[in-house]
């Protein structure tokens, strides 16, 4: 129902980054390294596709890092207590949905600004994560649970990547092909007009925040499986990387615009950059600068693109 120009330009940017780094260090192009980029981008990918849903409504979710931590310690505890791995995953997702519902209720029913509301829940959730473990990490996560995400189908291709792709496909389908998604975009673009079309806008906003926190819960479970221990400090500060991935992928913080595919590519750009700087032997300090510049350039390109398409629309108007 739309063209993929924006996603193509993100893909192009990703390829340019890969080409530049491989020119400097050929081993960057090795399969194992490329898969490492994907692996490193997975956790941020889950967070970012979630947060994209919240951003499209014109909101934001700053609590994803802490929601991830709550998922890490809760699922960690359950797995250690011997709950079957798949049941843990289901409970984890349910937990995400619950956290999202709370965020959504704060934003819709209590009419709090999303930035402040989720800043509040961010702190509350972090506290809960600490309380659940008493501040200690959850140790000795059973192998059966870790295998759900860590199992390699072929070398370098882990289940967690497959799950990310599955989740991205489902989210894309919901956003593009279900009325839920259409309403989420419509709310972000013009909430009043959407409401006057007979749409229960509160309900769909809450659903967007649910999708958001479910992504965070997934990110938590993948982290838990990867590390084998559940740290209540997990995911601290991750929300900014997630928002960055969405922004690089073309999601507008003003709402109404963005796509899951773009966000996944945005997450890959960030991890390609991170690994690239390591491979070419640059100081990791530069990683911060490079990440920041990428965000600024990406959003600036968006502005330029808007200007150009703005000229086109004027043309059509007078036609």
């Amino acid at each position: 129902m739309k063209s993929y120009t924006r996603e193509l330009s993100t893909l192009l940017a990703l390829m340019i980054i890969i080409v530049i780094f491989s020119a400097i260090a050929p081993r960057y192009l090795e399969i194992s390294n490329l898969m490492d980029i994907v692996e490193q981008g997975t956790v941020n990918g889950f967070l970012a596709i979630g947060v994209t849903c919240a951003i499209i409504t014109g909101g934001i979710d700053l609590s994803v890092g802490s929601a991830m931590a709550v998922s890490i310690v809760t699922c960690g505890r359950l797995a250690v207590a011997g709950v079957p791995p798949l049941a843990v995953v289901v409970i984890g997702l349910g937990l995400g949905a619950l956290i999202g519902t709370i965020n959504g209720l704060l934003v819709t029913k209590m009419k709090l600004q999303p930035f402040i509301a989720t800043m509040g829940t961010n702190s509350v959730l972090r506290g809960i994560a600490y309380l659940i473990t008493g501040g200690w990490p959850v140790l000795n996560i059973p192998k059966e649970f870790r295998q759900i995400f860590q199992y390699s189908i072929v070398p370098n291709l882990r289940m967690s990547m497959i799950v990310l792709v599955l989740m991205a496909v489902v989210y894309s389908f919901v956003l593009k092909k279900r009325k839920t998604g259409v309403y989420i975009y419509a709310i972000g673009s013009n909430e009043e007009a959407t409401k006057l079309s007979g749409v229960n806008t509160d309900k769909y906003k809450i659903m967007a925040y649910m999708l958001c926190s479910m992504g965070a819960a997934m990110a938590g479970m993948v982290t838990l499986a990867r590390l084998g221990t559940g740290e209540p400090t997990g995911g601290e500060g991750y929300e900014l990387n997630a928002i960055a991935a969405a922004a690089i992928g073309g999601t507008s913080l003003a709402g109404g615009k963005g796509s899951i595919l773009g966000t996944v590519l945005g997450a890959l750009i960030l991890s390609a950059l991170k690994i690239g700087l390591v491979v070419v032997g640059m100081d990791t300090f530069y990683q911060y600068i490079a990440t920041g510049l990428i965000i600024i350039v990406a959003v600036y390109l968006e502005v330029v693109q808007q200007k150009i398409s703005g000229m086109f629309s004027k043309k059509k108007k007078t036609a």
Binding site: M1, F173, K177, R178, K179, V182, Y183, Y185, A186, G188, S189, N190, E192, A193, T194, K195, L196, S197, G198, V199, N200, G256, K257, M311, F312, S313, K314, K315, K316, K317, T318, A319
Partner: protein, 495 residues
């Protein structure tokens, strides 16, 4: 010609691929009120924007007096004494009246803002304009008309020689409009040249000396307003014969059956509103700005809270608390604020048209593009949308066509009661007639319309029956055989 103030010489403006203005030349005399007329998209606003330096012309020159100016920015134009009063007035809420007037051009003394001087100067201007508020007053709480006075004061603060007005009366009450006209007369006496854009032709005949008509970016004619009839004006604007008046072309089709029965409704700012709506009826709702017509209908539609009262739909009591409840009872609403409440700007025509009926476009578990397109085909044709491209963004359509998209959105649902708030606000003459025809078609199918309108000819021409509101109360109910502007105004004012 020494009395020429502005001269447009072969102005052309090309946007990528298309000419918005194709060589427009004419002059505006010093101290006259000069109307710019044309349908939406005729190039009036583009021309004004070129005068004010918002756009630069692709070719041609603008002369002020004998001097070639061709401003590159609005500030340049403003410094030259060319000011604009916008259709929608934007003010900085946290600043006082005087601060808003002086904003960006504050007088300074020793490198500090000289508020004494600023307030003295702005108070002088406000007094000239006969405003009841002072420069130190806060902006909040002022009416749209008062904000417009501030915008005019701002022009005078810049010693404007030329002031242009773009649809200045669109949101004004009758009293405020009268006051504006008196001020424009006054400005004219001071030798200030006025450019005036309005869709309301009656206004043109009231205040303009001459008028220039544009059509599709070309200059059609400049004429003394006294030398032309309304019909001739319209004919030249549209390029074909169109009835300027709202008239019913089909016989009335009101049936006995009551579809909507509102009893003693009370809400924010209004109380004891009772009326019925019949099957096949167009019920006009008349009254002054501030009579709470929109508020009553918003409450019926479930946007605003009702304090008390009952609403019966098809004889059944209802408890409508939100628009989605209203939709279940078959009630739709088209807001007068098309931009902010009418459509979703990021969405295409097909999506905007399908928005209220989305659940019916599922095929399996996903929405089906073909069904959405088919819906667009059906209803786009029905409302005669000018651009039948499903992927075209609604925000890039003209006002009239946006209105058609919104109307089509409700036609695509099973709505049989439509609340239509100012159906032709900001809609050009040609599209107006089409919207009237669509309304007639709607009621001919046994559905019903409640039409809020501030334009008396429209409400008189289109309604089967009219209710008049005054200050949040029912003032009168008027049947078709008693319709007249005097009767309606009388009830609205309460004499």
């Amino acid at each position: 010609m020494s009395d020429t103030m502005i001269r447009f010489d072969n102005i052309q403006k090309k946007f990528p691929g298309v000419y918005a203005l194709k060589g427009v030349s004419f002059s505006v005399k010093k101290g006259e009120v000069h109307a710019l007329l044309g349908e939406n998209g005729a190039g009036k606003s583009t021309l004004l924007n070129i005068l004010h330096g918002v756009f630069t012309a692709t070719d041609g020159d603008v002369y002020i007096g004998e001097e070639k100016v061709n401003f590159e920015t609005p500030v340049e134009a403003l410094k030259y004494g060319i000011a604009k009063v916008h259709q929608e007035i934007h003010m900085v809420e946290c600043l006082s009246v005087g601060q808003n007037i002086a904003l960006g051009f504050e007088m300074q003394k020793h490198g500090m803002l000289d508020y004494q001087d600023i307030y003295r100067r702005t108070d002088e201007i406000l007094q000239q304009l006969g405003c009841r508020f002072k420069s130190k007053d806060s902006i909040s709480g002022l009416s749209v008309g008062e904000l417009q006075m501030i915008a005019i004061a701002k022009s005078l603060y810049h010693n404007a020689k030329i002031i242009s007005f773009d649809e200045p009366t669109a949101s004004l009450s009758n009293a405020e409009t009268e006051k504006l006209f008196a001020i424009i007369e006054d400005l004219k006496k001071k030798g200030i040249t006025i450019l005036y854009i309005s869709h309301k032709l009656d206004e043109i005949f009231r205040i303009a000396d001459r008028a220039t008509i544009l059509r599709d970016g070309t200059y059609i004619m400049t004429t003394k307003v006294a030398d032309i009839t309304k019909e001739e004006l319209i004919k030249n604007m549209v390029g074909r014969d169109v009835s300027s008046y709202a008239v019913r072309l089909k016989p009335p089709c009101v049936q006995e059956e009551v579809v909507l029965d509102v009893r003693k409704l009370c809400g924010n700012g209004f109380r004891d509103i009772s009326f019925v709506l019949h099957k096949g009826e167009i019920l006009g709702v008349s009254g002054l700005v501030g009579a709470k017509r929109t508020e009553v209908m918003r409450a019926v539609f479930g946007i605003d809270k009702k304090i008390s009262g009952e609403v019966f739909v098809h004889g059944k009591p209802t408890d409508i608390k939100s628009p989605q409840d209203a939709l279940k009872y078959g009630i739709g609403l088209i807001s007068e604020n098309r931009k902010s409440e009418g459509f979703v700007p990021v969405m295409s025509n097909a999506m905007n048209m399908g928005l209220a009926a989305l659940p019916s476009f599922y095929k399996g578990i996903g929405l089906d593009k073909q069904l959405i397109y088919k819906n667009f085909e059906t209803y786009g044709n029905k409302v005669q949308l000018n651009i039948m491209d499903p992927e075209h963004l609604t925000q890039n359509l003209s006002g009239g066509n946006q209105q058609k998209v919104i109307l089509a959105k409700w036609l695509a649902t099973s709505v049989d009661i439509l609340i239509f708030d100012e159906p032709t606000k900001g809609v050009d003459v040609g599209a107006k007639a089409e919207i009237y025809a669509l309304m007639e078609e709607f009621v001919a199918e046994g559905k019903s319309i409640i039409m809020i309108s501030s334009e008396l000819p429209e409400v008189i021409g289109m309604s089967d029956r009219i209710i008049v509101l005054k200050e949040g109360r029912m003032s009168a109910q008027v049947n078709r055989d008693e319709f007249s502007e005097t009767v309606l105004l009388g009830h609205a004012i309460g004499e």
